[in-house]
Symmetry: C2
Subunit: 318 residues, 2 copies
């Protein structure tokens, strides 16, 4: 199953999408190039290096050595790319699972990685970064990005809700109501129209990558969504924010919220089976739990309980 | 490998996309409901029935019996749906590969199927329809849709070409030219902006589903694209047209061309490694061959030779 995961990163198109996601790539570039003191003469580990772009930024910022690891076949392209840019004296590429390989050094000063998945934690790649941290990060060393948060907002889009849920009640004159529950049992990754956001955000998780434990990535949190206008809440949207700040002279921040510049992560939408009418100022309160799917640890199982209405909603993100 | 293929049809979202593709579903509906004489008191076979929508149209049009076959798990939903609509006395659902099952009848009068893939032949599902035809279609019976064509057009979109090909020459200041060939070796499925079409279409294949042989689905054809304006041809677009006409009182036709209403099939784009300047009236002539990929018979291998420039381009569609 992990073979399929790594294989999905072997195709050029996913790397083109990531490189052409300017919010993502320019944030990493700006963090590295405007905080060169963090890299100058340092040993850097790049976890899941892909085409090697972050490693090359680190080399350009003065790293004495960069070790770049990836289990996907894309690393053979990274090897060509590093040679094309005459950086093979600085960047050492290793094909393998981080959990299986040996490093040519005892400790590294900095770990960089672009590990974020949909709804931040999809793919569970942060687990691998934390493994690398616990194994090889020198005392006082840092993991970047260092601070990540997950937030929720209420979404009001009755037309879209009806196109996906009520749709099944009359499909060209036939009933397909048995399909409805499938739609409302799955989180969907999509660009949420910022016009449909109808609440203030509620932060449900803060992750400090320098100290968080894998066990803390399965979590339960309370949320409270305060309506910014009257409307019918048809779903709950999720997104994440990323901050590079530890020891930075220039902090770099980006957000994947619906009202921000689009990224390849889009947002995550959890449809409510029963939409909820809200007045401006109303609070929708509840509890969310986010856990790895035991049968497929790169997927997530999400439960949202809405206190006001007693709804308990179970979603897969897969 | 076929397990992955059928599994991809088990998820609700692909069926929602297909049902909500109005060009597709309304064409089938209109063909069946405005040509009820083809279905009245007939035995109908639906190959790859999915949610059962075509079978229900056939039942509504007066079929005496409809046999609906699908190997994907979605057929369990179709069973619920057929019961929900009180059509279980007419529609019999069979889970299995068409090549493996036994039918409860000796012969069928009509075969309906929505088997079309990207660039018409991707997925090679027509092979299965032809197997069913040769095995069970009564003399004088028909397969619908009955006539399908594939066409090419020249595309001029220098901005897009440069975003995908020249892009790799300078990625945030680094060279990744070794990635270029991957991009130009793969056909991509996407919505081609009709404004970028710069030639008349050239028909490269006509398929009569009532008589074509599987062996004829691997083919080589000449094409000739006449420029409708001056411009730089950066790629060749492919699409298909579908006609329901045999014995029809109301013929139904739809096209997946770039200037027609969007469908979930979009179009297929083959990027030219080296763009070609053309003047209005110029002809770009050549030869195209389309074959199943021997290692993965549901994928296609496509070779385009352009006589004018001597370019020989090999593409995968996978």
């Amino acid at each position: 199953e992990d073979a399929a995961y790594f294989s999905s990163y072997s195709h050029f198109s996913i790397h083109m999408d990531m490189l052409q996601d300017k919010v993502r790539t320019e944030s990493y570039r700006d963090f590295i190039m405007t905080n060169q003191h963090l890299f100058k003469d340092k040993v850097v580990l790049d976890v899941g290096c892909g085409t090697g772009i972050l490693s090359m930024f680190a080399a350009r910022a003065g790293a004495s050595q960069v070790i770049a690891v990836d289990q996907s076949e894309i690393i053979y392209k990274a090897m060509d790319i590093v040679r094309e840019n005459n950086l093979d004296h600085v960047i050492k590429l290793i094909k393998g699972r981080v959990e299986d390989i040996q490093l040519p050094v005892e400790k590294v000063d900095v770990i960089i990685s672009e590990w974020m998945g949909y709804f931040l934690l999809f793919e569970s790649m942060l687990d691998t970064v934390l493994y690398a941290r616990d194994q090889w990060l020198a005392p006082g060393g840092s993991v970047y990005p260092d601070r990540c948060t997950i937030s929720l907002v209420a979404i009001g889009d009755t037309k879209m809700h009806s196109n996906r849920v009520a749709f099944w009640d009359d499909v060209y004159g036939f009933k397909m109501t048995c399909m409805r529950s499938d739609v409302t049992k799955e989180g969907s990754v999509e660009e949420i129209d910022p016009e449909t956001v109808m609440s203030e955000p509620s932060l449900i998780k803060m992750v400090d990558c320098c100290s968080v434990l894998v066990a803390e990535l399965d979590f339960t949190a309370d949320f409270s969504l305060k309506a910014t206008r009257d409307g019918t809440c048809t779903g709950i949207g999720g997104y994440f924010d990323i901050v590079f700040e530890k020891d930075c002279t220039n902090k770099v921040y980006f957000s994947t919220a619906p009202n921000c510049m689009k990224t390849h992560w889009k947002q995550t939408l959890f449809l409510l089976e029963k939409p909820v009418d809200m007045k401006q100022g109303d609070l929708m309160s509840g509890k969310i739990s986010v856990k790895k799917n035991k049968k497929d640890p790169r997927a997530l199982v999400i439960r949202i309980e809405i206190t006001n209405t007693g709804q308990v909603l179970d979603f897969q993100l897969q």
